[in-house]
């Protein structure tokens, strides 16, 4: 055990060097922007602290626990520091660009507005004036319903298309034709059919999220390895067993890719759809704040939309990793 630890030492030292270099780089970027934001400054202080800790742990090889903590902190720092530096750079440029005034609010102004906004995210003051929390939830609900129906229709359709060549030959040209159409082009059809704005927006989400699920599921079905199907034939499995034990698990990773693409598109489209349909929702909220000329709220909305999209994506990545057998 000790031999392994000693053997691991040189690599650790190299890791320390890299961390120090990272910390230095962050300090430089702070100097460049000429604006010591509290968050970044404390980050660099943390970096110094960790550096000290790391050096201490190196000088005390008799303490494996401290060494392990230092190692762990260094690894964490390696992951966290570069994105933080990037964010600092972005905020710095933003600050410089808005320094001379103009219509776009600076980082500080936006921060103040955000603090005020998020202090009460769930107020209701009439149908057209609700907290940002309600708006995000309303959008998520539309995406959830539209996407859910699309999954219920699209995934079985994908299985059928993948299993029966004739069906896929019949429908593939139609799908190819409809897929590149902007989902918003379907909005008037939805308005006409449903006569109300809300289902029309859901309908738009449905249309835009169904294609990736059909296509990816179908592709997954056609790519089930022949070996597995031969196993099914040799074992003479029933159709139900073939589906549950072979087809479904083999297609699942493709299906999840389709779902991920769908959710991503749906979240992109909902903002635009809500701008057109109105009501409660983050897209409409952006439009509303534009009419009120509260530009800092628009910038906050951009961040909120981005963060929610990121969370959705990461959640599905997590699910996909859980069910991926290919890398095993």
């Amino acid at each position: 055990m000790t031999a392994a630890m000693i053997a691991a030492r040189p690599g650790n030292m190299a890791g320390t060097d890299a961390t120090e270099a990272d910390a230095g780089r962050t300090a430089v970027s702070i100097d460049e922007t000429g604006n010591e934001l509290p968050a970044t400054a404390s980050a660099s202080k943390v970096a110094d602290g960790v550096k000290e800790k790391a050096e201490k742990s190196l000088s005390l090889p008799a303490e494996p626990l401290a060494g392990r903590i230092g190692e762990w902190a260094r690894a964490l720092l390696g992951i966290v520091l570069p994105p933080l530096a990037g964010l600092a750079l972005l905020i710095g440029i933003w600050h410089l660009a808005t320094f001379g005034g103009g219509g776009i609010p600076g980082p500080g102004q936006t921060w103040d507005a955000a603090v005020a906004l998020f202090s009460d995210p769930f107020y209701v003051d009439g149908p057209n004036d609700q907290g940002i929390g309600w708006n995000v939830l309303a959008s998520l609900e539309r995406v959830g319903i539209g996407f859910g129906i699309a999954a219920l229709v699209g995934i079985p359709a994908g299985f059928l298309l993948g299993r029966f060549a004739l069906l896929s030959q019949m429908l593939n040209p139609i799908i190819s034709l409809l897929r590149p159409v902007s989902p918003l082009a379907w909005l008037p059809i939805g308005l006409l059919v449903f006569q109300r704005a809300d289902p029309a927006a859901t309908w738009t989400i449905f249309i835009c999220s169904i294609w990736p699920m059909i296509l990816n599921t179908a592709q997954g079905v056609t790519r089930v390895p022949q070996d597995y199907l031969n196993v099914a034939r040799v074992l003479n499995l029933s159709e139900w067993k073939v589906f549950t034990r072979i087809l479904f698990p083999a297609v699942l990773p493709y299906m999840l890719t389709g779902i991920r693409l769908s959710i991503g598109t749906a979240w992109l489209v909902i903002v635009a759809a809500e701008m057109l349909t109105g009501g409660v929702g983050i897209g409409f909220w952006v439009w509303d704040e534009w009419n009120n000329l509260k530009v800092e709220h628009i910038i906050i909305a951009i961040f909120v939309i981005g963060i929610v999209g990121l969370i959705l994506e990461q959640m599905l990545m997590l699910v996909a990793r859980r069910f991926s057998y290919e890398n095993r």
């Binding site: 070996d227 031969n230 196993v231 040799v234 074992l235 003479n236 499995l237 034990r245 698990p249 095993r328």
Partner: protein
């Protein structure tokens, strides 16, 4: 004379390709007897696996008659179990569940769950993998995967075991190990086996008859060699055995002299 399990009469197999009709096999006549081990050997592309797939029922012959137990082979069946070259275990099922899938299919109609589990357990024990039941295929070595494949095939209690280059992808030591175990299993279960191989030593060591196929296209049976070596066979003793050497030489003569591939 022992009972014939599989009868192949005048069987031919051809495929329609873009370039026209491709004849893979022609005029195959072969009877496989109960308890017999047969090796199919020939240069790659000669149609060994095609013949095995025909016996398995995965493909149907273009001409001729194929019988198993006196009945025509119309498709795959549990009495003809196949061990694939690349093990073909389902990666999302544990070793136990991979075998259980086969056991369930064959015996679920007559037996309870406990008995099915017992059968699965026994099959894995037979190939020495009782300790790895809960492991997934990606967690075990290539040799172990192939063992699970063999356990899956044996668990169905087939009348005949069909093996398509089962040890082709393994290293020499693992292969020798599994060959020895397969011999033990065959002796214990008195199973009938047909194995596709391109390894001359493997063919002589494991089989009672070596069926040599001529080069494709339109391959057919060139010679059949009776391996008269007594069982149980010992790999080390056979290394200096004159009879083993003769069998080996006869197959080599066929493969590298009579059927030498023109610069492929």
């Amino acid at each position: 004379m022992t009972k014939k399990i599989v009868q192949i009469e005048n069987v031919g197999q051809s495929f329609d390709t873009k370039k026209g009709r491709f004849v893979a096999l022609r005029d195959i006549d072969l009877d496989i007897h109960e308890g017999e081990s047969i090796a199919l050997i020939g240069h790659s592309g000669c149609g060994k696996s095609t013949l095995l797939n025909l016996i398995a029922g995965l493909t149907r012959p273009s001409s001729g008659v194929m019988l198993c137990g006196g009945r025509e082979i119309a498709g795959p069946g549990p009495e003809r179990a196949v061990v694939f070259q690349n093990h073909s275990l389902l990666p999302w099922l544990t070793c136990f569940d991979n075998v259980y899938l086969a056991v369930e299919r064959v015996f679920a109609a007559k037996e309870g769950k406990a008995s099915l589990k017992q059968r699965t357990h026994e099959a894995l024990e037979l190939v020495g993998l009782a300790h790895a039941e809960t492991k997934f295929p990606h967690e075990i070595s290539g040799g172990m995967k192939q063992r699970v494949g063999i356990a899956r095939a044996l668990s169905m209690q087939p009348r005949i075991l069909l093996m398509d280059e089962p040890f082709g992808a393994l290293d020499a030591l693992t292969r020798a190990n599994l060959q020895d175990e397969l011999m033990k299993i065959l002796a214990a279960t008195k199973a009938t086996m047909v194995m596709v191989t391109h390894d001359v030593d493997e063919a002589v060591l494991l089989s009672d008859r070596v069926v040599m196929l001529t080069n494709g296209p339109a391959a057919t049976i060139g010679e059949i060699l009776e391996v008269g070596i007594e069982r149980p066979r010992d790999r080390l003793a056979l290394a200096h055995d004159a009879q083993f050497g003769e069998c080996r030489a006869a197959i080599m003569e066929f493969l590298y002299h009579k059927q030498l591939k023109r610069a492929a």
